[in-house]
């Protein structure tokens, strides 16, 4: 992961036991990369009394136990981390190894009902969109609702719009795109993202002690396969292809 360049952070109280951290910068890409870098550092140097954090696209909500710490301490710690803490990727053994995933995806009309409209929007042929997705290298930026891997790195000519009307019941394993991001639907449910394909793998398995095999910073590539190939894979729980240090 690249280290984002950012100087100051904004820390605002949010209710009686949380603060919201944002990065005041005119460039959206820097705000987004910066908050990911800040989150990694903050969790690596987690101050006493901090219960959890919630990642937004351009923000980090820090929830704390007001009986163990105070807003002033959390704010001070956040500023210290932003200014001084080394990135967890800088030091050895600070962070677990980055994992790499090659995820087979079926890109046919059934699996990707929004592919045609995405292609039209981008002024490309659907086959070229599939190729662009396959050639993109994605980095998992955060785990969204129900541990869905939210990824950066879609290389297409322009950002992809969300659906005007959200779909109400998208199948698990659906590969979805919006902006320059991709996400995989872990459970049946609604989404405003554009559904372009589907993987036969189980992304989240709640019967396992750790329901997912991926984390933020991991690398994902999508490998187009036919429906028959997907069936022949007998794909189960998604596992990394390799673990690079």
């Amino acid at each position: 992961m690249t280290t984002a360049q950012y100087g100051a952070i904004t820390v605002e109280p949010f209710g009686d036991s949380a603060v919201m951290v944002t990065i005041p910068h005119a460039d959206q890409a820097i705000r987004r990369a910066g908050i990911v870098a800040f989150r990694d550092r903050f969790l690596a140097h987690r101050p006493h009394g901090v219960l959890d954090v919630v990642s937004g696209l351009e923000s980090l909500l820090i929830e704390f136990d007001p009986m163990q710490t105070a807003l002033e301490h959390v704010e001070y710690a956040a500023r210290l981390v932003a200014r001084w803490a080394p990135s967890p990727t800088d030091g050895p053994a600070r962070r677990r190894a980055v994992r790499t995933f090659a995820i087979p995806v079926v890109f046919d009309d059934d699996s990707g009902p929004d592919m045609a409209s995405v292609a039209e929007e981008l002024g490309m042929a659907p086959a070229d969109v599939v190729e662009a997705i396959a050639e993109s290298t994605f980095t998992i930026a955060l785990l969204g609702a129900a541990m869905a891997p939210m990824m950066d790195g879609l290389k297409v000519p322009g950002p992809v719009r969300r659906r005007a009307e959200p779909r109400t019941d998208v199948a698990p394993g659906a590969i979805m795109i919006a902006g320059t991001n991709a996400i995989i639907q872990p459970f049946p449910g609604p989404t405003g993202w554009r559904v372009v394909g589907r993987t036969p793998h189980t992304i989240v398995d709640i019967s396992r002690p750790d329901p997912v095999s991926f984390g933020t910073g991991d690398i994902v590539r999508f490998v187009p396969v036919t429906r028959d190939e997907a069936c022949a894979l007998d794909a189960g729980f998604l596992l990394p292809t390799e673990e690079a240090v």
């Binding site: 605002e12 109280p13 949010f14 209710g15 009686d16 036991s17 949380a18 919201m20 989150r39 969790l43 219960l51 959890d52 954090v53 919630v54 990642s55 937004g56 696209l57 351009e58 923000s59 980090l60 909500l61 929830e63 007001p66 009986m67 807003l71 955060l142 785990l143 969204g144 609702a145 129900a146 541990m147 869905a148 872990p186 459970f187 449910g189 989240v204 709640i206 329901p211 997912v212 984390g215």
Partner: protein, 334 residues
Amino acid sequence: MKTVALDITSTGWVTTFQDLGRRDTERRGVPTGGAADQHSAAVANLLVGNPRGAALIENLGGELAFVPDADVLLAVTGAPARVTVAGSPADGWSPLVVPAGHEVRVRGDMDQGTRTYLAVNGTPRTKTLLGSAAPDARMGFGQAVTRGSRVLLETEFRGFRRRLFEPPLFRLPVPVPRFDAGPWDIDVVAGHGVQAIAGIREVIEEATYVVTPRSNHVGLRLDGPVLHPDTDTEIVSHGVPIGALQIPHADELIVLGRYRSLTAGYPIVGVASRASLPLLGQAGPGRRLRFRWIDREASLRRFARREAEVRALGYAAAEAFGALGFMEPLRHMN
């Protein structure tokens, strides 16, 4: 330790295993979840000598009933409820020794609050997801307790020799919340939405809101007056604390609950005080709510008082149970 079974003879509209929620999972996209009324859940556990975060049963609506196959120590807390043991009335918010084979019935009064909690001394055998028994519907982790099923639990409770009509064995300092008939007052710490929407502070302060039936564990949806921001500035999805008051595009006010996810760009006018969250967890359709603005320091003072009461109960219960010879509560007090 021995294994005790509760034969479930009746369940409410929604009856599930529950606890105080998952820890440290929100950064991985899984809401903390857990008991809607955390105060009642924690107190139920302390009253039976369990750690406050132990797994217990949450019941919404209808009647929960069961028959233990051995003597058990249990407590019922939450909204005002009619509790009977083999047909005789028994107290809520108090430890109860229920002999083997006696049916316990718990019927909450939905007009006074939605949820009751049943804690039994010991550890129920239940599945966990990311370290917690709390259900997560979105991830297909239902945790329903069903009629006709048996809830098994490991307990070291062996019963007390007590005769009928003896004075109560326990007299503990129990912080029982008020469940008023009139509107409930909820303290709210203002958020930046208050600046973005001129006049909203006064509108919210003066109105009474009514909880609608479209409410669920993700949020309470309230009927009542709201204002919208003038501008259409897009707010990027961000995390929100439990208890956040958001104004969606429609004319309603939403109070987010423990299963909330990122907000989809709606203005947040404030966040309910931590001390008010348990009451919000008890609000059902038709409940009238009034919001009072409170500053952060006052909000935390109220929470600290509540917390001190719960701790005092924890120590008193641990001492009482320790004197009776079971050590478990003393072990987890520290």
